[in-house]
């Protein structure tokens, strides 16, 4: 029997109206099809938007095992991911975005590191950040290798996170049990929901390691994307709000449950 990674990939999608959606989506799915090591299943947690539903139903996923889960409430990235994790049958889960791509070597390397480091709970890829023109912007998750950032090369610690926030949850391969034990993304936390998750996991001694291989290509600030919206769109944030969410992540990480954090703008 051909070996596959015991992994469920969770792909939340809010809308197919996004610019160049079909093109991005196709590239994202191809990056799954082209993996050098197969995986268990792809769970797409999508909104009820008609265009999106039609697109997904008509798309040729070829040999991938795809589970379409319709998220009936108002779409929300965090909640869509969490519901996908609940449905997952893999021992590991990975969070994906439709405008991103996995490197074809990623699952193969994840398996290699799982075999060598069974005590590690989550593996981060070295992420290449690109802009909408596919131009290289920089790396993410690379800071775990920097000599002055961590006491153990490649390991993401709570201490590191308290001084540096730029780590990426997308592409991570994490034990499903860890998310079940310590909770997934918190719906109420904006902007820093990924950072809060990392802080919470490392606070609870979850061992996270970055694999020094390019594993994921992430599109930065896509027009209409979550973070683009925080910067330029309908949910634009002030500097104070950005600070608030960073500080909130540092405080909320001690709690497994979402405590319904809200930002209230105050006058200076």
């Amino acid at each position: 029997m051909e070996q596959t990674l015991d992994l469920s990939v969770i792909l939340p999608i809010k809308s197919a109206v996004a610019k160049d959606f079909a093109d991005y989506f196709d590239k994202a799915i191809k990056s799954l099809k082209n993996q050098q090591l197969g995986f268990k299943e792809l769970i797409i947690v999508h909104s009820s938007e008609e265009n999106l539903v039609n697109h997904l139903k008509s798309y040729d996923f070829e040999n991938l095992k795809v589970i379409l889960v319709q998220y009936k409430e108002t779409p929300n990235y965090s909640e869509q991911i969490n519901s996908g994790v609940k449905k997952a049958k893999g021992k590991y889960v990975s969070f994906f975005e439709f405008d991103d791509e996995y490197a074809t070597i990623w699952f193969k390397n994840a398996q290699k590191y799982i075999d060598v480091y069974p005590q590690v709970d989550a593996f981060l890829p070295l992420v290449i950040d690109v802009d909408e023109k596919n131009a290289f912007n920089g790396f993410t998750n690379e800071a775990t290798f920097a000599a002055n950032m961590t006491s153990e090369i490649g390991v993401l610690t709570n201490e590191t996170l308290l001084s540096y926030q730029n780590f990426q949850t997308s592409g991570m391969v994490v034990k499903k049990q860890i998310i079940e034990d310590f909770g997934g993304f918190k719906k109420s936390i904006k902007l820093t929901f990924g950072y809060e998750l990392f802080l919470r996991l490392t606070y609870n001694n979850v061992r996270i390691m970055t694999i020094p291989k390019i594993g994921y290509k992430h599109m930065n600030m896509r027009d209409g994307g979550i973070f683009w919206n925080y910067k330029n769109g309908s949910e634009v944030m002030t500097e104070n709000e950005v600070k608030f969410w960073i500080e909130s992540a540092k405080k909320e990480c001690y709690f497994t449950q979402d405590r319904g954090i809200k930002y209230v703008a105050t006058e200076n």
């Binding site: 590191y113 060598v116 480091y117 070295l126 920097a146 490649g154 694999i211 020094p212 291989k213």
Partner: protein, 356 residues
Amino acid sequence: MSTENYEKLEKSINNMKEKLSRIYFMVQDTKGNAKASVRYIYQMAITLKRAGYNAIILHEKPEYTGVSSWLDESYMIELEHRPIEGTSLEISPDDLIIIPEIYGFIMDQITKLPCGKIVLSQAFDHIFETLQPGQSWSQLGFYKCITTSNKQKELIESVMRSVSVDVIEPAISEGFQKNEFPPKTIINIHTRDQRETANFIKTFYVKYPQYRWVTFRDMRGLSEKEFANALSECFCSVWMDPTSSFGTFPLESMKCGVPVIGLAPSMTSEWMNEDNGIWVGNRNQVLDVMVEFLHNWLEDNIADKLYEGMEKTSSQFSNMENFTKTIKSLFERYTITRLGNFQEQLNKLQETETTK
């Protein structure tokens, strides 16, 4: 007079037969730093000691750091050590003294010593460094040489025509092994001059700021064990030692499964080929080639052929059994030849006595 000579010859013959003759190996004080050329000498000396020969380490000054901190304590315990300075060296005609080529001035000083003399040449580039213009080893009474490769043998023979050269290829210690864990984002760097290491690293961080999370490790000052462990953790090694004539560091790196991006030395080692490393002809290109390698490594884009080539080459230099066998057989040969010479002299003396 002839009785005295007769007795001396008989004593020398007996010393050689009983392996009582001293074999002195001159070494430099590395001040606690690991040095492949010094390890090679110690390995040779200890091999002979364990084979029953009277091998002794010679060092210049009475204050000698020794090799316990980086090689192994056993070398200091098992081998007798003697300084040259401040003591009168015991020498008899059956003794052998083996001196690295860098000690031309010592060769000069011991020209008249009545013993066997051998030059140990590990770096062709250094052989004339401490010799006077026009001076050769044979003029100093050194007619034999031990070197590390056939290529060096050829070169030495081309300039030191009256010297016969034997080859003992170094063997990489068993301590150099592949790491059981995947490599880290660390680059080993080994240059002859420490400033060159600093320049290389600084240029890298300025020219390629996107890779500022990659760490360099200068391997100076580590014990052999630490050195081997540190080496095996890395994903690649940079080697810039253009005057090296054998290349122990890249072989150690290969044995640890760590690819080498190296500046091809002026005298390319025999074992170097396009399959076992990335050899760059131009010093200024080493950095860019290394970055290209880094990028390919991050994408799992390094050809298996390279790792296979490394394995093949390093295994050729990993056979300690062969190494010790070569040393023993060479010194047995030296002993037999020298015994023959002494016996011949003795016979001549006897003939002269009989004729009288």
